[in-house]
């Protein structure tokens, strides 16, 4: 695979993760369990959609086919999306949303830290900027997971169920393929640091404090990052996310 194509795909993966998760949690807007949580989720959604704009603008520039970030977000179909399956999964109850967020945030901060050292300067600049926001998200999702896991019997039960449900989607975050190898060779991201070890250290310490058990995870779902097998949920997200541009092509705010 040539570098330009790999770099484009790599940036789409980053952008699509942020876009789809941002859209997912924006679904909580007006439905949060308390006003403060509602506002927090809407704010995090806004940060993620801002992040998606940055990565997809870079991707559009690398692709150089006169597509914009908006074109990439609004006019690609499900099979062209490159987000991991974790972020397209339904929100479930608040516990499931927060667990998914925590498992994502912990990975997100590590990846952005690595990307802040990228040899591609626009990537390094974007990652350094976004990392500051992601760290704040992690601080909150980590504390909420601990508070609810080590909370009432009901909140504990729901958080354990959320972890059991979400955990099989974690593996895909750490899968590496030809695209990753190609961009690593060019120094877009330095993979000498073992992200998984740092990740596992982070989540096992938090989940222990939350009195939650990491499941044995005999299997791991995948197929989103490479676009080969998204879950049925992505198509449903796109019907909402892209509806306006599909119904009224070129509509401007």
């Amino acid at each position: 695979m040539d570098y330009q194509s790999a770099y484009f795909e790599f940036l789409c993966r980053l952008g699509d993760n942020a876009l789809i998760l941002g859209h997912r949690i924006s679904e909580w807007c007006g439905h949060g369990p308390t006003l403060e949580e509602d506002i927090a989720l809407a704010n995090i959604a806004l940060d993620l959609i801002g992040e998606a704009t940055v990565w997809l603008e870079l991707a559009a520039g690398v692709e150089n086919k006169r597509r914009t970030a908006n074109d990439l977000a609004m006019l690609r179909d499900a099979w062209e999306f490159r987000n991991v399956l974790l972020v397209e999964q339904p929100n479930g109850d608040f516990g499931q949303t927060i667990m998914r967020q925590y498992l994502f945030d912990a990975w997100h901060v590590l990846v952005l830290t690595a990307l802040a050292e990228s040899r591609e300067l626009p990537v390094a600049a974007a990652a350094a900027k976004i990392k500051k926001e992601a760290q704040y998200h992690l601080l909150r999702s980590r504390n909420t997971v601990i508070g609810l896991g080590d909370g009432t019997p009901e909140s504990h039960r729901r958080m354990q169920a959320a972890l059991d449900w979400s955990y099989p989607y974690v593996g895909e975050l750490f899968e590496r393929d030809e695209i990753d190898h190609t961009v690593e060779q060019k120094g877009v991201v330095n993979q000498s640091a073992n992200l998984w070890d740092h990740y596992y250290e982070e989540i096992s310490s938090t989940l222990q404090r939350a009195t939650l058990q990491i499941p044995a995870a005999p299997h791991s779902h995948s197929g989103g990052k490479n676009g080969q097998q998204h879950s049925e949920h992505l198509g449903h997200i796109l019907t909402q996310l892209q509806w306006l541009q599909r119904a009224y092509p070129g509509a401007q705010w």
Partner: protein
């Protein structure tokens, strides 16, 4: 060709189009960078209308490139919708001042920090009822009664840059500008 009757510093209330067409950039000396900075101090953040873009520390560079004025602006938060509005406000203000060729570019590096809010900006924030950011990660005192008996209601608030706190002494809720 030079028309001395054209006011070098037109009033902001005049319509945009008139000045842009009458004040051709070659017809008069271009404003100095210092002058541009003074004008920028009149462009306010739409969400926090007491803070100018200078107070916020988001203007990173101002340069003339021939007859074109180039301004580099850095977003506070990547997804903050105010950044788009601010860019438009800057362009509109400069057009009113007779500058027609304007490029407002977004710079992500170095990433904006709440440390870049000027000391005047911090004082204006507090006077407006928003506790300025503190390295300790929490407000120093209630912006109204100055008590330090404070309670965090939420890590997030009405805009991406703020969190919601409450003063336990005067019982008022207040915004805290997050440390970024």
């Amino acid at each position: 060709m030079v028309n001395p009757s054209i006011n070098h510093e037109p009033q902001p209330s005049q319509p945009v189009g008139d000045l842009a067409s009458s004040a051709a950039s070659t017809a008069q000396p271009r404003p100095t960078i210092d002058q541009i900075y003074k004008w920028l101090a009149s462009v306010m953040d739409p969400e926090i209308p007491v803070l100018s873009v200078i107070d916020l520390g988001i203007i990173r560079e101002v340069n003339w490139n021939g007859d074109a004025l180039e301004i580099a602006i850095t977003p506070t938060y990547t997804g903050c919708p105010a950044t788009t509005a601010i860019t438009e406000d800057i362009e509109m203000m400069l057009r009113r001042r007779g500058i027609t060729e304007i490029a407002v570019n977004r710079h992500l590096a170095p990433a904006w920090s709440s440390d870049w809010i000027t000391s005047t900006g911090r004082a204006k924030l507090e006077a407006y009822g928003i506790a300025p950011p503190q390295l300790a990660g929490h407000p120093e005192r209630c912006p109204r009664c100055h008590s330090n008996n404070l309670f965090r209601v939420s890590e997030f608030g009405s805009t991406p840059c703020k969190a919601l706190w409450r003063c336990q002494s005067c019982l008022e809720a207040f915004d805290y500008f997050k440390c970024l």
